[in-house]
């Protein structure tokens, strides 16, 4: 119980720190983006909601989750964001894109793909590492056996 309490309080403190660090960066990025993208900025915020959600939920020590999800999420948002910008960044253009289901699917699907990769990557890496390590162990055991043959059982100490 006390462990949980401690964990919760440390997570809260973590988030506080993250917010403090992220806020100036977001502001510095958002103001030029609003100028350039105009109403496209609204589209960007809506499209990048999964990333913002992830940022809010995930601890600072797991920044790779945010960056992976953000990169995939941005991959899904960028083609339509560019299209909106090229159309002048008008409210009409934003609404017309948001009214298409496929656009929502591509933006949020890409973010979900990021989540899926984050979730699956350790298992896949485990599979690879196990194979590599097994090979290494086999090689070292072979060397140990050769030493035993050369020096006898005394080598085992």
């Amino acid at each position: 119980m006390s462990t949980n309490l401690q964990s919760t309080s440390s997570e809260a403190a973590d988030i506080q720190v993250k917010r403090k660090k992220t806020l100036p960066f977001v502001l510095m990025f958002s103001i030029p983006a609003m100028v350039v993208l105009k109403m496209g900025f609204f589209f960007l915020i809506v499209g990048m909601l999964p990333t913002l959600l992830t940022m809010a939920l995930v601890r600072h020590s797991k920044s790779y989750v945010v960056s992976t999800v953000a990169a995939f999420n941005f991959t899904g948002v960028f083609p339509d964001l560019l299209s909106i910008s090229l159309e002048g960044g008008t409210p009409r253009a934003v609404l017309s894109h948001l009214s298409e289901g496929t656009i929502w699917f591509s933006m949020y699907g890409a973010a979900m793909l990021g989540w899926a990769i984050v979730w699956l990557s350790p298992a896949i890496a485990m599979l690879f590492l196990e194979t590599i390590y097994r090979g290494r162990i086999r090689h070292m055991e072979h060397l140990q056996k050769k030493l035993e043959e050369e020096w006898g059982p005394d080598i085992k100490g």
Partner: protein, 688 residues
């Protein structure tokens, strides 16, 4: 695949070789035959020519079967009068039995190798028989012509060769018609069985086995005593008790005790006065006797009495009127004499009554000390006091009385007879440098300088304890003619390195399975013959605790040196014997590969009979050291790798690593996909 743990050579293989092995060189040749010429008839003993050290048998010369000969077959491991033997091989005199041949032969049904000397058998009867008939005094002219002249010629010849006889007594001189023949002098150590009447006082006081080998003046003295017997026609002191005779001579002098009571021819008086003086240096030598025999007259005054004081020193129930007598009294009553050292009575008596201030001062210096003397120091001090009182006498310490030159022979006897107390006392004499002190009291002579150096060297060697040194080494250093006394070589007469290797080669067929190929005696014998001064170590295996003290490796090194010195003759039996003892050492080697290589090399080396090759393999090549070092490294590698395997097999570490690496890869993929998408989209829009 062959089992690498399986040895390729087993002891059984070497033992099988030795079972069928017949050495090419065998010591001794044909049984009961010396040098292929003299046959020893071991079933015809001659007790009258035997001694405590050698048995005499009838011998036959195959070239001249009619010659009357006898052979002396020496007991196992007895010291020989090697210098005399070497000199007498060529020395010939009609009044001396000739030494015709000598060497090692296989004797008796056991065919044990013994040292044998073949001599002419003297004809006639021993003079003791003539003297026992009594009442036959020999006239002066006949005595001189028939007895003294030939004996003096022999003594002159001996003196030139640097040897002495020391068995001149009526029992060893044979009379046949008008000629005499002096018997052998090699069947026992110098003066061992000599009647004390025929020994001067300094040798009377010495134990039979501790007499000096070379004592020319003792021969001259013996000739004078022989002349006294012959001139009187009987043995004048046959009934005398040894101890009382010694006391009389010490108190009154030899001339006064032995000659004065008798009516001897006037013409012989000078001879007796010249020979029977109490000082060794003043006695006539062989040349002076020859001059006297040719007619030169000396008109010597009668030797003065030995008394040095009118008031005797009361000790041991008698009064001693001179220093020699007191010295003998102190030794004879050793335990009672020890407490007397502290009370200063002896220096006071010497100063006041004997007027020997210097001697008194020396004794005071020896006995007075600022700190109390330990019991051992007290005993050493007493021995030194005795030397100071009687410098010409033997070294006397506890139960031992020995000439400095006789210490080696005495030690040899004590070791052979396993008289441990005597060995201990002799070791103390050598260790306390009593011999050095004795020599300081003598007038300097080159003979003594050489002896001092020899004793100093022996003492150093005795103090070292490793194989090749210790008491055994002292024994062989002090007795160069002594055969090796190793129990292993029982039945083999070994006096040279070549003989030793041959004997061991022969013994390999019987002893390889159960015995080591050497012991401390063999090691000391080899070290003495090779004149090794430093303890033999095997530096190549010093780092290995199990090997550095290994006796077989030290023996291997010694035997290799011996083989080299003996001319590199192969000894296949001995190498197989050594290999059997070395095989277990190979078992202690860790590397199976190196072990198998050494085993293969070992087989090749033993087949060639080269001990040096064996030594190279085991010692010089430093295989054991390399094996130890490489094993340590391999052990460290093994342990390190074992740890790494355990780490790789652990699941906790692996899942963490997989998580880190997986997320890192995922991040990289995400960035790549994002950049690619941005690039492709921009390219499509702007037709880049």
């Amino acid at each position: 695949m062959a089992d690498t743990h399986e040895p390729i050579i087993r002891q059984e293989e070497f033992l099988a070789f030795l079972k069928g092995y017949s050495p090419e060189r065998k010591a001794g040749g044909e049984r009961d035959m010396l040098a292929g010429r003299w046959r020893i008839l071991s079933n015809q003993p001659l007790p009258e020519f035997s001694s405590s050290y050698a048995k005499a048998y009838v011998a036959r010369d195959e070239k001249t079967p009619d010659a009357s000969l006898y052979a002396l077959v020496f007991d196992d491991g007895v010291p020989l009068r090697q210098k005399n033997i070497n000199a007498l091989k060529t020395f010939r005199h009609p009044a001396l039995v000739s030494l015709l041949g000598e060497g090692v032969a296989q004797i008796g049904p056991t065919a044990s190798t013994r040292y044998v000397a073949v001599l002419e058998k003297p004809a006639g009867i021993p003079l003791t028989e003539m003297l026992s008939r009594k009442g036959n005094p020999i006239p002066e002219s006949l005595l001189i012509q028939q007895f003294l002249r030939p004996l003096s010629e022999i003594l002159s010849g001996f003196a030139k060769m640097g040897i002495s006889h020391n068995r001149i007594n009526p029992g060893n001189i044979y009379l046949s018609g008008s000629t005499i023949v002096l018997g052998d002098c090699i069947s026992e150590p110098s003066g061992f069985s000599q009647d004390i009447l025929f020994e001067p006082i300094e040798r009377m006081l010495t134990m039979p086995r501790g007499k000096a080998d070379f004592a020319s003046s003792a021969d001259c003295y013996a000739v004078a005593m022989l002349a006294l017997h012959l001139a009187l026609g009987f043995s004048p002191f046959a009934q005398s008790v040894k101890e009382s005779l010694i006391r009389d001579i010490l108190s009154n002098g030899a001339y006064h005790t032995l000659v004065m009571p008798w009516d001897v021819p006037t013409g012989l008086q000078d001879f007796f006065r010249g020979e029977l003086g109490d000082s060794r240096r003043d006695r006539w030598d062989a040349l002076t006797i020859e001059s006297w025999l040719t007619g030169r007259r000396y008109n010597l005054v009668m030797p003065s009495s030995s008394r040095e004081t009118s008031r005797g020193f009361e000790f041991g129930g008698e009064a001693h009127f001179n220093r020699k007598s007191l010295a003998h009294g102190l030794w004879s009553n050793w335990k009672q004499a020890l407490p007397m050292l502290a009370d200063n009575r002896i220096p006071r008596w010497l100063k006041i009554h004997a007027h020997k201030q210097d001697t008194a001062d020396t004794i005071t210096r020896l006995t007075q000390s600022s700190t109390p003397l330990t019991p051992q120091q007290e005993e050493e001090a007493l021995a030194r006091v005795i030397i100071v009182l009687d410098p010409s006498g033997p070294i006397r310490f506890r139960q031992i009385s020995s000439a400095v030159e006789g210490l080696g022979a005495q030690l040899a006897y004590a070791l052979i007879a396993e008289r441990h107390e005597d060995v201990h006392t002799l070791m103390q004499i050598i260790d306390a440098d009593l011999s050095g002190f004795w020599m300081e009291q003598q007038k300097a002579s080159p003979e003594h300088a050489a002896l001092a150096a020899k004793l100093q060297k022996a003492r150093n060697h005795i103090r070292m304890k490793g194989p090749g040194f210790g008491v055994e080494r002292g024994l062989y250093d002090l007795n160069p003619g002594l055969p090796c006394l190793s129990p292993l070589l029982e039945g083999h007469h070994v006096t040279t390195l070549a003989e030793m290797l041959t004997a061991l080669d022969t013994l390999s067929t019987q002893k390889a399975a159960t015995e080591d190929a050497g012991d401390r005696h063999i090691a000391a014998f080899i070290a003495s013959r090779l004149n090794l001064d430093k303890e033999l170590r095997v530096p190549e295996v010093q780092a290995s605790p199990s090997l550095k003290a290994n006796f077989t490796l030290v023996m291997l090194k010694l035997l290799a040196k011996a083989q080299h010195k003996a001319g590199d003759t192969p000894f296949k039996g001995l190498t197989h014997w050594l290999a059997i003892k070395l095989l277990p050492l190979l078992g202690g080697m860790h590397s199976r590969v190196r072990q198998r290589k050494l085993q293969a090399d070992l087989r090749a080396a033993v087949t060639r009979g080269s001990i040096e090759e064996l030594a190279d393999m085991f010692i010089s090549s430093a295989s054991f050291d390399a094996d130890r070092r490489e094993f340590q490294k391999a052990s460290a590698d093994y342990a390190e790798r074992k740890k790494r395997i355990a780490t790789l097999q652990g699941t906790t570490g692996l899942s963490h690593q997989a998580s880190v690496k997986g997320h890192s890869v995922a991040q990289s993929i995400a960035y790549s996909v994002c950049i690619a998408t941005v690039y492709v989209t921009l390219k499509a829009c702007f037709r880049l």
